[in-house]
């Protein structure tokens, strides 16, 4: 497939799409019903349906009976932890294997012309992005993921929070399942915008931004505080009347769903002539430019707050205008003392 029919590649080898990145036609005024209908399948396919089904699968095949989850015992918790690890390894690893190890589609549709495995940086453990990212994902990410999961299941099992059943509240729970991505987007935008501020960026979020050229393993490579905040989106289901399967879906949406934004390719080729859109460009631009696209575009928060960058020249110009203003402001305040040698 000729990726230059869909975009351009610069001298560095970085590919960018011709079409500017768009936000979902939700929350737009005036409403755009036709555009919304055309977009609607993307709301479910392929990822959201997959994550919802995974929650159901976990409930029936991985988790023990409710009576067991009333008690915190190593047996079921460790089983859950290992299943989560294996699932993440297989799911993220499948993208990594095909796109980055086998390089099955070469650099076609690849945003960054360089390959993380070929770049060493002192920012990473052992100067290797993949090793660093894997250590962070499995060393702290999966234990935190599992801890959140256990806390939520334990709370439901013991009746600490209301447990609505699908039999008695089918329409409410169906509607709640539909808004899981919206809860995620809102939580993510607020958290993400907050950890870009001052010391929180320096001590917490900079770890994730070490991966300027993100790849699948970068998805959950975060400081533990960020992992707790990010995956903690599932705790909303302890506040909103809910059901443990929907809480699991919310958690899986965050955990497994971290990958689309970090896959590094605009399209994943399935066969020679068919491909799947990754919808990763908005978040790739965030990793590239930092101060744009704090959200993923489901809700146009960045448009509302003036931080949206769609990859177009106009978007670039808007970003540069904000950058000039910010530079003037910070340089007027800066004492600019000479850098101490380390």
């Amino acid at each position: 497939m000729d990726d230059l029919a869909y975009g351009t590649r610069n001298k560095r080898g970085d590919w960018s799409p011709n079409e500017p990145a768009g936000t979902a036609p939700l929350f737009v005024f005036p409403p755009q019903p036709l555009k919304l209908l055309k977009w609607l399948p993307h709301y479910f396919l392929p990822y959201n349906l997959l994550f919802a089904l995974s929650a159901v699968a976990w409930w029936y095949w991985v988790l023990p009976p409710v009576e067991v989850m009333k008690f915190l015992a190593w047996g079921w918790i460790l089983k859950l932890f290992f299943v989560n690890c294996i699932a993440v390894f297989l799911f993220f690893g499948a993208f990594e294997l095909r796109l980055y190890v086998q390089r099955a589609q070469g650099n076609r549709f690849k945003y960054n012309g360089k390959w993380p495995s070929e770049q060493r940086s002192k920012a990473f453990f052992f100067e290797r992005q993949n090793i660093d990212n894997i250590m962070r994902a499995f060393g702290t990410g999966l234990p935190i993921w599992t801890a959140i999961e256990v806390a939520i299941l334990h709370a439901f099992a013991n009746g600490y929070v209301p447990w609505l059943t699908f039999a008695s509240n089918p329409w409410y729970l169906f509607a709640l399942a539909l808004v899981v991505p919206i809860i995620h987007e809102t939580h993510f935008f607020i958290l993400h915008r907050t950890i870009h501020l001052g010391p929180l960026y320096k001590w917490v979020h900079s770890v994730h931004h070490n991966s300027v050229n993100p790849s699948p393993w970068s998805s959950l490579s975060m400081h533990p505080v960020e992992q707790l905040g990010y995956l903690g989106v599932a705790f909303w289901h302890l506040i909103i009347p809910s059901n443990p399967i929907i809480a699991l879906y919310q958690l899986h949406f965050a955990g497994f769903g971290a990958i689309p934004g970090h896959v590094g390719f605009d399209k994943v080729e399935v066969t020679g002539s068919t491909n799947v859109d990754s919808h990763a460009y908005i978040h790739y631009l965030h990793h590239r430019y930092f101060e744009v696209n704090y959200g993923d575009g489901l809700i146009p928060f960045d448009k509302w707050f003036g931080t949206f960058h769609d990859g177009s020249r106009e978007g670039e110009a808007r970003m540069q205008a904000r950058y000039q203003k910010r530079k003037e402001r910070v340089n007027a305040k800066s004492t600019n003392t000479p850098a101490a040698a380390k």
Partner: protein, 104 residues
């Protein structure tokens, strides 16, 4: 009154290149432009304190090796996100094949 500090030989800096120079507990980046002019700025990126001597010089820009932010090394002006704070720049001269900087 300038206080010129000897950095070393001009030929030790590649054309369109940069070296690290430490002096008095401070660290600097010393550049040689495509036209053999010399310049000096603080050594660390104002974003995350990574040494710019590990970065890439292109024309009159130095690109930080970590996040690819960029500065104009003639003036120290930040040119591309993520850095917003300008680098401090210092008077620099090349005489008799040797480079000197005045860091005050």
């Amino acid at each position: 009154m300038p206080n010129w500090i000897d950095v070393g030989l001009l030929e030790d800096i590649e054309q369109e290149g940069v070296i690290r120079f430490d002096h008095g507990g401070r660290t600097y980046a010393v550049y040689r432009s495509p036209k053999d002019e010399v310049f000096c700025t603080d050594g660390l990126c104002t974003h995350e304190s990574v040494h710019l001597a590990d970065g890439l010089v292109m024309d009159y820009e130095i690109e930080c090796p970590k996040h690819q932010g960029a500065f104009d090394y003639r003036t120290g002006e930040a040119l591309r996100l993520p850095p917003c704070v300008n680098l401090r720049s210092y008077p620099t001269k090349s005489e008799g094949g040797r480079v000197s900087i005045d860091v005050g």
